[in-house]
Amino acid sequence: MNWLSKYLPKIVLAPSFAAIIWFVYAFIGWTVYISFTNSKILPVYEFYGVINYFKLWSMPRWYVAIENLFIFSVLFLIICLVLGILLAIMLDQKIRMEGALKTIYLYPMALSFIVTGTVWKWMLNPTMGIEKLFQDWGFANFTFDWLTTPGLSIYCVVIAGVWQSSGFVMALFLAGLRSIDDQIIKAAKIDGAGIFNIYGKIILPMMKPVFFSAIVILIHISIKSYDLVVALTAGGPGISSDMPAVFMTAHAFHRSQIGIASTSAVMMVMAVLAIVVPYLYSELRKH
């Protein structure tokens, strides 16, 4: 009985611990190992070296995916940050209906990327969507067919992604703004600083940690983004809006190339770790 009560906390923790070790770390280990084998439809365990890595980095489709990841994450990051900060600052001006507005700005976060993709696919539809709307409004020559144009469809993913996630950046920054002492703003106002100077030169520089969190989370979303691409463009037209996560599942489940699929998954893990490890390091050092 004494023995039991001594070890009880550890026994309670053990199933979760075992699950994480096995289903997270051992599984990642398996994927890493498979990336060093010549596995096609089924895993083979014979060591094959780093050939898959060379193969992956010589595949034109992988370059399309990487290029799109770059385009998407840069634009997604910048637009979400600008929009989110702007909304947060505007909401912080002691306005009426703040609760209602906040609810409106953030509700897309409650919807899935599939729902988001479905509605934007309809709105960005070249013949009947926004294009037709502007033509009806009198702009007879207005065309907006990015969704079906190779090389431009990735920007449609950005448009829908920003709509879905920018409210989240607003919530982060609003929470940050609320934690700043009012006295600072009052003092700056007495000194004659204008509203733009107060935010640009005093408040925002104080919010470095919020920037840091927001940037890490937005890049993390970018690297993992899969659902939205599938629902909005399915990687198309052709493979022109492919992203690493779409590339991975395509090779894993449809093209029977699990060696290459695992290699691309390893690249994704490395990309995430490169961003997250410094972040966690600085976060944990604070405590």
Binding site: L8, P9, K10, V12, S16, A19, I20, I21, F23, F27, W30, T31, L87, M90, I95, L101, I104, Y107, M109, A110, L111, S112, I114, V115, T118, V119, W120, K121, W122, M123, N125, M128, G129, K132, L133, W163, F168, L172, A175, S213, A214, I217, H220, I223, K224, Y226, D227, V230, A231, A245, A252, F253, A265, V266, V272, L273, V277, E283, K286, H287
Partner: protein, 298 residues
């Protein structure tokens, strides 16, 4: 003399400036609100139109006649078309999946958080760090071995399989939520109860759990939203009849029959988004708290 006049006009000027600033502030706030609301508006009105009207009008034009036909088709299908996809069975799949997965992962998270903060042991921080990194890992790195494991134990393409997957990969998030909440509870609470002879479980159920309501709500909403909205696990580990609703919605939209029915697509999208949207509107405060807590994980 001149100084006072200057002062008065300055004040007058700044008053006007303030009013203009205030009005433009509201103008932009409402403009942005319209931008965020537009897709929802488009979804709703499109779902209430007939296809003929959709072709005639445009995205924003109101329906001349409100029809619920598209909703009926999206939910229950058509009687004559044998191969069509409709959402009713998949809605129940998702319900059957989300309820147990949320309960299991939340309960495990609460227990883990309790142990990690109130029954600390050597290297417990290492486990915490492992969880933390685990919550960031892109799931592509575990998809293939998980698919094989589910196949080996006979759980591929089943709701039970998805319950297990979501419960397991929910543990890092739920544990973090509870750990961060319990760490702020005074340790004296536990110490005093232990002196009184209360054991591990008694302290948890009688003392800790009753004061955990806020974090339970946050965690349940977080898990519910994530699991209901999941597409990656659903599409990788299930197909056909066992698929969750997001997978079914995507299949519905992709199914290219002779004519594309945007009204049915929009009704289906609203149905698939409805449960999380309702939770968000009713309990938005907790939803936001989960979002911001999940982001700053330290």
């Amino acid at each position: 003399m001149s100084q006072t006049i200057d002062f008065a006009t300055l004040e007058q000027k700044s008053k006007i400036k303030n009013i203009i600033l205030r009005w433009s502030l509201y103008f932009f706030l409402i403009l942005f609100a319209l931008y965020y609301l537009a897709p929802l508006y488009v979804m709703i009105i499109t779902s209430l139109k007939s296809m003929a009207e959709i072709r005639q009008g445009n995205l924003l034009s109101l329906p001349k006649e409100i029809l619920f036909d598209a909703w009926k088709v999206a939910w229950g299908g058509r009687e004559y078309d044998a191969g069509n996809v409709y959402l009713r069975p998949y809605f129940w799949n998702s319900t059957k999946m989300v309820v147990p997965a949320v309960l299991v992962s939340t309960f495990l998270g609460a227990m883990n958080g309790y142990v990690l903060t109130k029954w600390r042991f050597k290297y417990d921080n290492l486990f915490f760090l492992m969880l933390l990194i685990g919550s960031f890992i892109p799931y592509q790195a575990i998809l293939l071995p998980m698919a094989r494991t589910l196949g080996t134990v006979g759980l591929s393409n089943s709701v039970l399989g998805l319950i297990c997957v979501h419960s397991i990969y929910g543990i890092p998030f739920t544990t973090l939520f509870f750990r961060n909440y319990y760490i702020s509870l005074p340790n004296e609470l536990v110490k005093a109860a232990r002196i009184d002879g209360a054991g591990f479980f008694k302290i948890f159920f009688k003392i800790i759990l009753p004061i955990s309501t806020p974090i339970i709500v946050v965690t349940v909403i977080w898990q519910f939203t994530n699991i209901w909205n999941d597409f990656l696990f659903g599409s990788s580990f299930s197909f056909g009849e066992a698929a969750p609703i997001q997978v079914a919605l995507n299949n519905m939209v992709l199914t290219s029959t002779s004519v594309k029915e945007y009204n049915v697509d929009m009704a289906a999208a609203i149905i698939a988004g409805f449960p999380t949207l309702v939770v968000y509107v009713l309990l938005g405060k907790y939803f936001i708290r989960g979002l911001t807590a999940g982001s700053v994980k330290g």
